[in-house]
Amino acid sequence: MILVCGGLADSVTELVCARLEHCGYPYRLLDLGNYPAGFKIKWHWQGSGPSGYIAGPDWKIDLDELTGVYVRYLGPEGREPPPNLDPGVVPAMYFEYDTGLMALLEDLSCAVVNRLDGGMSNSSKTYQALIVRECGLLTPPTLVTNDPHAARSFYEDYHGEVIYKSLSGVRSIVRRLDQEQLARLPLLRHGPAQFQAFIPGDNVRVHTVGEQLFATRVHSETVDYRYASREGGAVEMEPTTLPPNVAESCLRLAHQLDLLFTGIDLKETPEGDYYCFEVNPCPGFLYYEKHTHQPISAALAELLHHGLPAPLNHERTMPMR
């Protein structure tokens, strides 16, 4: 039995459910848009991992029945506020709900896509860059600084081919450092920013699902293809094949971060080098599957239904070095 934790209105969660349905794999949805309303839970720790159940309106599953869990947490916008509660305490209640669920998922022995601990690395792209290096992938030349002179010097070293973007988990649009932004460099004294040498080439999005890997080449003229339509650009995608050493590094990266499902952002340069930008622990893979028909959700369904293959199952790694 598979447990899907997410929002009905979330298109990625919807796709996961649809794929499980299509594969004929039994699953239950813990609708986080309403949870805990409409559900009854009992999670019991007694000297070992948790036992107990989750019950919905017309179903009940024991925790030891689970072969896999897929979770996609919701922000406040995707949730129905609990009735009869002061709106002021609602955010604290959401935090309480999520904390309990996280504690459970961290301690289940089945496949969990994904446990929170591994995903926390995504809150620091520069931390991920350190692990990316260890896994044998290239990381773009990067500067993190609060020093305008250091930023200017980096800009000159790379002949003005420099981009800037957030280094935390806060989503930002990747932009080139231009004259207008150069004039604002003195503001860096208020706090650090991340600059990177611009890497030319094609974006390649890699989804790792357990030991499987799906690579998608993205053709776009814009610096950040995710926002291409906003900038009047077009995006084309096609399945692609990675060199074996790059594929192996991607799987090693996912394993090192204790992530069963990842979206890894690569770029292949005209010289054939692969640079890695970040690892997304909760990838919105719908966008890529829709364009390329790569069977990402089918692989995910298999993983959730059959559980972990033996090499991944025997011991969970700590997502730290």
Binding site: P36, I41, W45, D117, M120, T139, L143, V170, P192
Partner: protein, 302 residues
Amino acid sequence: MGESRDSCCLSVCLALEARNYPTRIIANPLAQPPRFAWRLNNEQSASQLVWDEEPPLLHDQISGVFVRQSAWLDPTGWQPDDLAYMHAETQAALVAWLWSLPCPVVNRYSPAIWYRPKVSLLCWQYLLRRCGFPTLETLVTNKEEEARAFGQRLAQEGVAGAVYGPLTSEVRYLIIDDKDWSGLAAMQRSAPVCLTYPHGAAQFVCLAGEHVVWEGEPPPEAALLDPAIRRFGLATGLAFVAFAFAQTAQGLCVIAVESHPYFEHFGDAARQQIVEGLVEFLTADVNYLRNGAAQSLQGSLI
């Protein structure tokens, strides 16, 4: 990294200086006055801090870092959204930078701990068990009958009441009489509740480098607990971490994990040992620390 008002920070600095290690306390290396610059690529990781009129402090000139607080930003003059963004950026840069340094860092927090420093004890369960800690039986439920049944079982064992506490706060309540249980049931209509056994007074113990330091006389179980504490330190990479133990109807159990230990939980004698352990760790040969940790952890988890 911390404040000179922090007695732990200050004690470690004084002990280092007594051993002729120059020290500097800074609240946030990524905020002015210092100028911070870190270049990273596949060939190098080179960072420096520059204070006005001083030569640059290069990353390989830093022989140890003691982290007492994550970087603090003065909110003055910031719009709330901008402050939150800059806080996130600073935290992200700092956790990575600490990992990039070749010297001993206490603590070199994983992002999971860095971003969730006060996580519920329940979130530590998996690791605590694997390291060999005795853990308390715990129930999370939003079903009134299950909560009541748990309370009744405790009563049959002669335990007076159950302890309720939100997972996101350290506040705890003893649930004893019918009025308490009815109140709890009302709460369950809004959220699952977490129930566990009542416990006696907490006794604190701290891992400081390679030292396990008990506040007061160690309990008879210390011979079993000390190895578990060391395993926990190795598994998490925490060289400075504290635990609270307490007697319960299920024996001595861990009731709290502090990834950012409160120095105030320890008396003078224990504090002195803690500082010694931290100073030893901060001044130890890095290769010794790496090799020793790798060998000790191999096969030691349960």
